[in-house]
Chain length 386, copies 2
Amino acid sequence: MTDAPLTLDPPNRMLMGPGPSDVPPRVLRALAAPTVGHLDPYYLEVMNDTRRLLQGVFRTDNALTVPMSATGMAGMETCVVNLVEPGDHVLIGVNGVFGTRMCDVAERAGAVAHRVEAPWGQTFTTEQIEAQLKAHPEVKVVGLVHAETSTGAHQDLTGMGDVVHAHDALLLVDAVTSLGGMPVEVDAWGIDACYSGTQKCLSCPPGLSPVTFSERATARMDARQSKVQSWYLDLSMIRSYWGEARAYHHTAPVNMTYALHEALLIAHEEGLEARFARHRRHHEALRAGLEALGLTYVPERSLPMLNAVRVPEGVDDAAVRGALLREHGIEIGGGLGPFKGQAWRIGLMGASCTRRHVTTLLGALGPLLGADAGAALSAAAATYAD
Amino acid sequence: MTDAPLTLDPPNRMLMGPGPSDVPPRVLRALAAPTVGHLDPYYLEVMNDTRRLLQGVFRTDNALTVPMSATGMAGMETCVVNLVEPGDHVLIGVNGVFGTRMCDVAERAGAVAHRVEAPWGQTFTTEQIEAQLKAHPEVKVVGLVHAETSTGAHQDLTGMGDVVHAHDALLLVDAVTSLGGMPVEVDAWGIDACYSGTQKCLSCPPGLSPVTFSERATARMDARQSKVQSWYLDLSMIRSYWGEARAYHHTAPVNMTYALHEALLIAHEEGLEARFARHRRHHEALRAGLEALGLTYVPERSLPMLNAVRVPEGVDDAAVRGALLREHGIEIGGGLGPFKGQAWRIGLMGASCTRRHVTTLLGALGPLLGADAGAALSAAAATYAD
């Protein structure tokens, strides 16, 4: 090597983008606990306990609830490739980057993907989905994004499971950004397959993707005529490793499982309802502050943990984000796809969802926009006084 | 939850199975460094430096050298799905679990897989591969396992690249267990696609899979008629994230990259030749000791870092491994597939490859076999005196 290699010494950021979020010291300590083998009796206990804690945040009794050994996008691919066989019809709600990606993933799996589209920032009604299912009765899987990370839009899923099941289809839900920060009621909402990530409202480093399959989804999987196209993501084999057989499939990411376990334990200790209330409370404060700065929200119905706002006319997106990072050590996200340069995505996820995060961001952003930071901070503070 | 969740407190094992290996404290500290965003300028520096260090251990100048965001088996799938299109013919050397799996992965990708088989524990000659290529001139990819983790067999790759290239095919190599513990000469041997894991001779926790593609392989990928069936493993997109564009693909496993960087830095500081010599030296000692205990090796040509020996007649495999783990905190591996109950796989990988590991294992195993541990320790010690 010509140049000397880097000595690892990452800066201390305040992570307020679309994920990863700030990782609590407890989780980092768990991550660095001694590695044991992936078939060690102790690790098997950690696996069982992690599954139980995951069932808790997913609000499900699904036996097939596992963290996949790869990041959130692999969770999407896991759900699709295990449920879809070549030639199957699927219906996907496209109102941002992740619905668009789900179509791509489904088509790579040989599915015929029907798109139901909404403008970015908007979501779908049960009536819209029902109309599509009537128009395409051959559809076997309906894919919706609960929390569209590219637009900050919150898709209401109430009643969606009933509509989808009435047409003998399965409901597949992307909860990457929502899990652990707002209700994701897998059982109560009739979700058949759901995937998430670890680096959003669970505040664990990125690297795993929690996935859960209902009995209905598991039965569909078991009735497949063809092998799952991905060996690595084939849940029929992964289930054997997580089940009684403990059959070796791949070498599990042991330390990442430790970290996820600790992150789930923190959520369990806080209590889900308290955690959701915390996300709503700081979202309201941030929203009041951002609006006082003159910013407007992109989505009709914003997620609490991801605040997508328009970059004001005449403001240089990259310059502002660069200054936040360089001068304040704060990361916020830029826009994706058509929103590139047009939107900021400000996360309040998990450990990054505190009053300090709200205050610091408003205090740093105000002057960069030439706006009245004092008024923004007062507006935010007022919401806490309510 | 009915039972209280587990408080994470893993035992301190001595990892001498087929991986994971012992993780050095430096690597665990790096793993627990503060998480930054996957597009943070600091993280981009870590990515660049990690690639440079990976090129070093792979002994390659390949630009397309990246750690995939999943474990070693995903590295296998990455190489296969990026190089193979439906209907393509491939030739795979099957002499253990991992060659068998490569056929499965290739067939799931729509390939026609021709198997060239050898008894488990044996390997292939260039003449055998050449004869198969003459018999199947339509073969586009030849897959061989450099270090067959199920049998401990070392596949000599000298001259294999020339044979494969003379038939206009690509050479794909599994170096999961060998990388960092013995030479893996990607450029000098004419390897076109190679994958590995982090948890073997690199002594990083499991979670990533280093992959490298030659220019020839990259050109094949660029000439594809069809999309790669896996979105998550599609190198054409991952290359954009690792390249100038820094196009967002998935949220990289930031902390695992830190750990891999540190593990590679340790290998770089030790020097590859010194590291390989260390693996040979302790392998010779262990081998002398195991043979003094009356154990015999499975493969004709053993890997230094993985010692597969037959479970002696009348000895209870599970009881011995259980006692090693419970009473001594030592993990060794059992047999896979037809070797289940028939073989032990004793690893000397990376940080688990020291004189202390050799001594401890022989001292613990001898009495469990009712054999003369003193003689075994003397036989091992004698090899160090040479």
